[in-house]
């Protein structure tokens, strides 16, 4: 069973290699890529099932015992994130062939996509802080090249902001890792969890915790580190935005969740209060800023910031219910954000623009597409019983139980603003009648055909969202069990370091 842990790294790596070899044959690349994603989905599903039935799975890379080598670990959170990444990757691969264009496909779109998945899977699997950094670098480089692929001017402008701000995050992450190693002498996260608790200088640990907060907060797009996201997500092809929106910020949230439940838990009055303040600011600012955006992807970009705020709030509260809410949030948000961008791409395809002023007229002519979009928008708005509602409810309840009136008000305000901006997209982008697009009739017919195929993965993800709504009970049970593992790290520590620790 433990060998399953290797597959989410090996499969994307091998697929990327094969795609690279087939670089001149686009159709072959598409098939290989799809095949690789299906294999990854099956492998992560098996892993998910194994972790659910057998508990935390551990493998030591090169058989060097922990904490000396690199440990790969999958607990319930990791297993879930791996599965979700594979599903998002599969959907985007199926979508990409109809939307990114052959020129980009020829210039290694698929290998880059799989390397991105490699970095993401690695981040979820690794039990080593420095290896997490390496995985982040793999992700960063792959995502940067994907972002700029095509060389359009807007892409490069966005790409520069993206890469420079993310490199600052990397630098801070690396520095903090080095300093932490200097202080406690280990890099294995389970070992760190034990040693940090024993380390006496609380101020130094708090300071390092803040460095990790900045590094991961920037990746997660937490206020005020989120500038790179609205600056870049609207520039690449929609397929690229979709995979980014589904997964990149979630890796940051995952890292925050990991370190602030396992490593930096000694002084929550300081660390978790700071997270709470940043979370509230993200929630409200993101949702507010989304209101005044015209480009559909900029609206979604700011809403990502807001959603990340909600998740960070759960981390800050740190109660079992709040952490379970974060896990549930992650579970649906990967699918949701990926789907929103894919649907936005369909709209853009049909109208030749993603600007809300130019969209519209879909309700009359494209009812099926409109309903798909409605499902996702209402999920985003947290309308019950769609899956966006349950984690918000759990967070609201946790916040009320802390008695912090300001945070309760922030949650309500952010939820209201999100409802407003989601409905704005519906009303202006779908309902409203729009003048016919400024496109050649032959071009339009071609686009209609592409759009139909692009809707297939979007319909699949929408179906998944509805399935979450029906299965909210079991999903929340899973989230609760995942939260239980996070809040009791001794089980994780024992699994990694062996008995006796």
């Amino acid at each position: 069973m433990e060998n399953l842990l290797v597959l989410p790294i090996v499969i994307p790596l091998v697929t990327a290699g094969f795609c690279l070899l087939a670089s001149r044959r686009i159709r072959l690349q598409r098939s290989l890529s799809l095949f690789g994603m299906v294999a990854l989905t099956i492998a992560t599903l098996a892993l998910f099932d194994a972790v659910r039935s057998e508990g935390i799975l551990v493998i030591q890379a090169g058989a060097w015992p922990a904490p000396y080598g690199i440990t790969l670990v999958a607990d319930r959170l990791s297993a879930m994130m791996l599965l979700l990444s594979a599903i998002a990757g599969l959907a985007v691969t199926a979508y990409a062939g109809w939307s990114v264009g052959e020129r980009r496909e020829r210039f290694h779109f698929y290998p880059l996509l799989h390397v991105l998945l490699l970095g993401i899977s690695g981040s979820f699997l690794t039990g080593d802080l420095f290896n997490l950094y390496v995985c982040f670098e793999v992700m960063l480089m792959a995502s940067f090249v994907l972002l700029c692929l095509g060389g359009e001017r807007a892409q490069l402008e966005g790409g520069v902001k993206y890469v420079i701000l993310n490199l600052i995050s990397s630098a801070i992450f690396l520095t903090a890792t080095g300093l932490l190693y200097g202080a406690v002498g280990t890099l294995n996260m389970a070992d760190l969890s034990v040693r940090i608790a024993q380390y006496e200088n609380r101020e130094v640990i708090n300071s390092l915790a803040m460095l990790f907060l900045v590094a991961f907060g920037l990746k997660a797009a937490l206020f005020p580190f989120a500038f790179w996201l609205p600056a870049s997500y609207h520039t690449p092809p929609f397929a690229v935005s979709a995979i980014f929106a589904g997964l990149l910020t979630k890796v940051g949230v995952y890292a925050l969740l990991r370190v602030f439940t396992m490593l930096f838990v000694g002084d929550p009055d300081f660390t978790h209060t700071v997270i709470g303040i940043l979370a509230a600011a993200s929630m409200v600012f993101g949702a507010l800023a989304a209101l005044s955006q015209k480009d559909i992807r900029r609206v979604f970009a700011f809403q990502i910031m807001s959603t990340v705020g909600f998740m960070a709030l759960g981390i800050a509260l740190g109660t079992p219910l709040a952490i379970a809410a974060v896990v549930f949030y992650l579970a649906q948000d990967v699918i949701l954000k990926c789907n929103l961008f894919m649907l936005g791409g369909v709209a853009d395809k049909l109208r030749g623009s993603g600007n809300l002023d130019k969209l519209g007229g879909f309700w009359k002519t494209k009812p099926f597409f409109s309903i798909l979009f409605l499902i996702s928008l209402l999920t985003l708005a947290g309308v019950p019983p769609l899956p966006g509602f349950w984690p918000k409810l759990a967070l609201l309840r946790s916040t009320i139980e802390t008695g912090e009136g300001v945070l309760v008000a922030a949650v309500v305000l952010a939820a209201f603003l999100t409802l407003f901006s989601s409905i704005r997209i519906w009303s202006g982008g779908i309902w409203r009648d729009a003048p016919p697009p400024d496109l050649e009739p032959t071009d339009l017919a071609e686009r209609e055909k592409d759009a139909r195929w692009m809707m297939v993965p979007a319909a699949g993800l929408s179906g998944l969202l509805l399935a979450y709504a029906l299965a909210a009970g079991p999903v929340f049970d899973y989230a609760e069990a995942a939260a239980d593992q996070l809040l009791n790290p001794q089980v994780y520590v024992q699994a990694v370091l062996g008995e006796g620790n």
Partner: protein, 806 residues
Amino acid sequence: MFAILATLALAAFLAPSLTRWAGRRCGWILALAPGAALAYLVSRLPAVIDGETFDATVSWVPALDVSLDLRLDGLSMVFGLLITAMGVATMIYAAAYIGDDQRLGRLNATLLAFMLAMLGVVLADDVITLFVAWELTGITSYLLIGYDNHKFQARRAALQALLVTGLGGLVLLVGLTMLSWIAGTTQMSAMSAAAGSVQGSPLYGVVLAMVLVGAFTKSAQFPFHFWLPGAMAAPTPVSAFLHSATMVKAGVYLLARMQPVLGGTEAWHTTLGVVGATTMLLGAVMAFPQRDLKKILAYTTVSALGMLTMLIGIGTSAALVAAMAYVVVHALYKGPLFHVAGIIDHETGTRELSSLGGLRRTMPITAAIAAMAALSMAAVPPLLGAYAKQLVHAAEGEATAAAGYIYWTALATGIVTTSVAVMLAVLPFWRAGRETPKQPHEAPISLWLGAGLLATLALLLGPVAGTTFRPLVDAAARVAGASPSELHEETSLGLASTSHAAEPASAGALEGAADQAHADADHGAEHGEHGSGTLLKLVTIATGVLLVWRRDALLAAVAPVGGLARFGPEAVYRLSVIGLKSFSGVLTRFIQNGYLRSYIFVVLLATIVLAGYPLFSDRAPLPPLAVLDIRLYEGLIVMAMLMATLFATGTDSRLAAVVALGLIGIGVAINFMIMGGPDLAMTQLAIETLSVLLFVFILHRLPRFEHFTSLAERRRDLVLSLMVGAFFTSLVWGIATEGGESALSPYFAEHSLSEGKGHNVVNVILVDFRGLDTMGEITVLAVAALGVFGLMRLNLDKEKKNGKVA
């Protein structure tokens, strides 16, 4: 119970294809779904009247203590009957009213989904289940108001309704969550047992305020009432169903449901009494000057909702009975009146009151229905409206809080309501004929059947209300907190009065009934001295008619007051929405301003503030300086790197800056070499080279380098950079001095040769102990290479310009 919800869900799901298949007859088929639900409720009616309840439960999200608890009791029965009966009428009417429209299937589906949600609201026992259904009614209402989605007006009205009720809903959710937390249960049926602890809690005021905001927004109470007239942008069947008979009563339902838990306090009586009475009067007064039939109806609905809120606020047994009776009566007259307005619109092409007249000749059936409904509205015996109005008058006398205010607003409302009833039922039909856009003729049966049945029901039930109607109303009032013993007493009085009314409608019998009703009022209150009941009633009706007769003159006289609307709640709403959007724009442009340097500034500043705070807040002393053991060549390399850094920040040439940065990288590589890691150094060199290349490819596509910053900004940036540098230096210094020993190094040193088969420990670490890291870094390099290749060869901007399509 789940079976009826499932039936509706299935019907909603199948509605689009069924509509396509059955065409214009789809209404009759789809009406079977609410019909089945209605039949189920009727079958349980006797048992519920006897005080039985039916429960059903399915676990939903156990981790959040949420379960699908349904409970059918007297209160849910009254509302459930309304929803399903009106639902049947609506489905038949809607298909005929809309006619051939490709969106009819979606309209039918949404209407059925709404019915499902609305039944969920009244059947739910779990607060979260209630909230889920509550929000679903709001969303379906949004979609229905915006049915004419191509019209800006409709979309704006839909948004307005959604935002007002949506914000109310969120506040309600907080209130309900707090309430279930305090009461220790999420089941509303179990909460009344905890009423004492809830009302004694310091949070009672907050909880009450939040629940009331939720109920008031949904039920269009002042100052949130304005969304309801706006919602008249919906097609008439929707207005009749959602915005008159059912959804807007959800707030009233919630108040009745919460009365045993939250009611009975001074705050409850006063808030509900004053808000309800104000809404009641305001709605009636604003209905009077309207020109559009539907707007008139909308404002009278607001007025009726106000009355219901006020009655629940009074909270005595008699008041609760009156409220429940009026809920039904209102639906029975307002539903038909809406349908009539729709018929007039459909057949004549206009809803303008001023262009309508003489329709009794061409539309006799519609005229008869309108007359029956309006008589019930004006509380003329023997219609059911008269019976309910008696109960209301009696209850108004029992008010303890704001009693005088309630008395006078009720009196004024009575007068205006009479006028409005006359305007609706008399003017379009009985005055001289006028030109209408379409030649009017009688509507088909599918348009008038539902309205006719409802209006006839009000007529038939009126005389026998005490025996047939009252027991159900009592059952509902008991759930809302009316005490059974008082009810018993009340019922005998009610029976006495209606037994008079049941006799042939002689003047004497009517007077007797009115006197009896007023005796009720005298019985429990201080307002007995205000005139005799009959006289008052006559005066009310006479004044009402007089107002209609002199309507034009009156409206001209008060026209200047209309300007006040500019300061009303709707104006506040509009300004808030506009303000919110522009605030969003300004704030976003300020924060997300597009300048990378400002982003970097914020990120770095936040970093040193957050990470510096724990170190310097307690004035933790910097650990003592470690003895510096630096060799000369090390110093030289560091100096070179420092100079390169300074040069990079100072130069105007991007290329030069990149080269300088490369130099820093090479310095690091040399350091690695010195410290015994040649492999590491080589890797570092390769990465540096590639990074420089990558940078260059991007840079040469960027605009020319220019100085955008002022000197002051550059000084500010310099200060920040120095602070960041100083912070990290001191942090590294401190940890290097007092940090612990590495737990890993001894192991590496020991096992490197024996198990890793290598003399150079660094190399073994790289390729074996931590081989996975190295594999990752190789991947990074490969990707960077792909990136350089792609950027070099692919420029879609240029290709587009040259006519190649990507």
